[in-house]
């Protein structure tokens, strides 16, 4: 497998956008690529090996070097703080991290509670705001927390805002904009330099093209 580049891809929504981007950059991926349920997909023609991981785990695979490259949301990069190169803003899967809660409520003065999938990011954000809060880590359906009284606020990803509205929540503050990034293991970045540089240039070409069309 030495001549293959291993790319860690996030399962789910980002995967399709990322695959589309690679196609636009001229890489030949098989048509059934997106429908596969396999966790490892070898594309012999391009000498790529894709591994499909949970989005939050992509930086871990890349940091340990079992994947040379990966596509990861900036949200996971902020949360995980892995020692990897962040080479390109792929400008896909745009969304943002925000603080939300029930309308017209204030945070509890004595013991404010915040539920989130991103404990590190949330803790750092409130510390910067000069507030000490209790962070409650949840793994999904974060919107439940304020509705049933687990927390005063949540910190979560917002893309269209529909989920918030449907659950009767409002956005209070916008923390940071999020897009997907191309990340690279520091060793692979040197050992596989030529192939990685080529990939970066081709992807950068597609992204810049998209920007100038807009």
């Amino acid at each position: 497998m030495n001549d293959y580049l291993t790319i860690a891809m996030p399962k789910g929504r980002i995967f399709e956008e990322a695959a589309e981007l690679l196609r636009q950059a001229g890489y030949k991926l098989p048509p059934e690529f997106e429908d596969s349920r396999k966790l490892i997909i070898d594309v012999e023609e391009e000498k790529f090996r894709f591994i499909l991981a949970k989005p939050m785990d992509v930086p871990t695979y890349v940091e340990h070097g079992v994947a040379d490259l990966g596509i990861a949301g900036k949200d996971t990069m902020l949360e995980e703080e892995r020692d990897v190169y962040e080479l390109l803003d792929l400008q896909i899967s745009e969304c943002y991290l925000a603080v939300a809660g029930l309308p017209n409520t204030k945070m509890n003065d004595v013991a404010p509670k915040v539920a989130t999938k991103y404990p590190n990011v949330a803790a750092a954000y409130f510390r910067e705001q000069g507030e000490q809060v209790e962070i409650i880590k949840l793994n999904g359906s974060i919107e439940l927390a304020p509705i049933i009284g687990l927390s005063d606020r949540i910190v979560d990803i917002v893309s269209t805002g529909r989920t918030l509205v449907e659950n009767g929540l409002v956005e209070y503050e916008r923390i940071v904009d999020i897009t997907s990034r191309l990340i690279v293991n520091p060793v692979s970045y040197r050992i596989q330099e030529e192939r990685i540089s080529e990939l970066v240039e081709r992807l950068a070409g597609v992204i810049q093209g998209a920007v100038s069309v807009e």
């Binding site: 940091e63 190169y85 080479l87 060793v187």
Partner: protein
């Protein structure tokens, strides 16, 4: 805290079992012999040092230090690297008239791990320090010696990236005006965040030419040609001198004939404040993390009262073993199983074999419960059992 199981070790601590120990000592001695051949002298320093001196002088982040208190209430640290202890010894004892001094070490260092507690918190580093020689020849010697030791250890598939902290600082301060702003930008490189770097540059109020220069800087990676590109970007004398150092370094490396292992990467920032000049990292195929690193640190000895500079490198033994892949199995020892009647014969035979350089286990057959599974581990088994002349295999 839950009750500990008897097999547990503190987080990040590991045992070295015989096979690994054997490989490790082979690698250690191959590298050590090469360092000695280049005239480096090995020294040892204590595992515990004062936090105030060596602890705070080291390049390792404070939260990674193992701290404890001695009976007088002083804070101690388990040494997190060997460079700071060696700087202490050199400055206080060994440096005479500031003549160049070449020292080597192989020692365990200790770094508490922030995440994934299973990562090694204790590991062996083998390295050298060349103190009080400010020439580029000394910097190049570090790289040439490192290449030579890796080859002696049996590692061929590796690459070295070389950068220059001084150049980055000169370029950034020249364009941005203050050290503070330069540091803010450098931090993006330290965090390997090129996306953040570009966004930060675009957000600054600079002329478009200067912005372009900062963006072009990210491309300063590659072979000898990088030197020319870098010269075009920098417009101050000190920065040009830094690039001349890299040019000289390249020439010396060519003299050593090892330039094929070398790439320039001027975006390489190994540490925010520790290094002052040429820095480098070495990467091996199939190992996810750098196997070693080094560079010039001209400010460290000041903390111990000397104004002289120094350069050095360290390799991580655990990662070298990972790069080597398979453990080299040494020929297993031979075994002589004896019973009381023929003990003397067995002792003499063992002595003879040992003197001729063989490894021999001498085992009383009465001490073994299952002869078959015991003898399986040895390639050659001699039975000296019962009356003489019988039972030999």
């Amino acid at each position: 805290m839950s009750r500990l199981f008897m097999f547990e070790k503190p987080l990040g601590m590991r045992d070295t079992l015989p096979e690994l120990y054997e490989t490790k000592s082979q690698v250690r001695s191959a590298i050590g012999e090469e360092m000695k051949a280049w005239g480096y002298q090995f020294i040892e320093t204590p595992a515990l040092e004062y936090y105030e001196t060596v602890g705070s002088a080291s390049a390792i982040l404070d939260q990674q230090l193992f701290k404890l208190l001695d009976s007088q209430g002083h804070t101690l640290v388990l040494r997190p690297d060997m460079t700071a202890p060696i700087a202490r010894v050199a400055a206080s004892k060994l440096l005479k008239e500031d003549l160049p001094l070449r020292l080597a070490y192989s020692a365990n260092v200790y770094r508490a791990q922030q995440r994934e507690g299973g990562r090694p918190a204790e590991f062996e580093q083998i390295g050298v320090e060349c103190i009080a020689d400010d020439t580029v020849s000394a910097d190049a010697e570090m790289i040439a010696l490192m290449i030579s030791t890796l080859r002696k250890a049996g590692i061929e598939d590796f690459k070295i990236s070389v950068g220059h902290i001084g150049f980055v600082k000169e370029l950034f301060v020249q364009i941005l005006g203050t050290e503070e702003r330069a540091n803010a930008l450098t931090k993006f490189l330290y965090e390997k965040n090129y996306v953040g770097y570009r966004e930060h540059v675009k957000s600054l109020s600079l002329s478009s030419i200067d912005k372009q220069r900062l963006l072009e800087f990210l491309k300063l990676r590659g072979g000898e040609e990088v030197i020319e590109w870098a010269l075009k970007l920098i417009e101050n004398e000190k920065g040009e001198e830094n690039i001349q150092e890299l040019k000289q370094l390249w020439d010396v490396i060519v003299d050593y004939g090892v330039q094929s292992k070398l790439k320039f990467d001027l975006t390489l920032i190994s540490h925010m404040s520790y290094y002052t000049g040429i820095v480098f990292e070495v990467y091996a195929n199939q190992v996810g993390f750098p196997i070693g690193n080094g560079g010039r640190y001209n400010l460290l000895l000041q903390k111990f009262g000397k104004t002289t500079g120094a350069t050095g490198f360290a390799l991580r033994l655990d990662r070298l073993l990972e790069a080597l892949g398979t453990l080299t199995k040494r020929k297993p020892a031979g075994c002589i199983l004896f019973s009381e009647e023929r003990r003397k014969e067995a002792v003499n035979l063992a002595k003879e074999k040992r003197e001729s350089g063989e490894r021999v286990v001498l085992q009383d057959i009465n001490g073994v419960k299952s002869i078959d599974s015991y003898t399986e581990q040895y390639e050659e088994v001699t039975f000296l059992v019962g009356k003489a002349g019988r039972g030999s295999l």
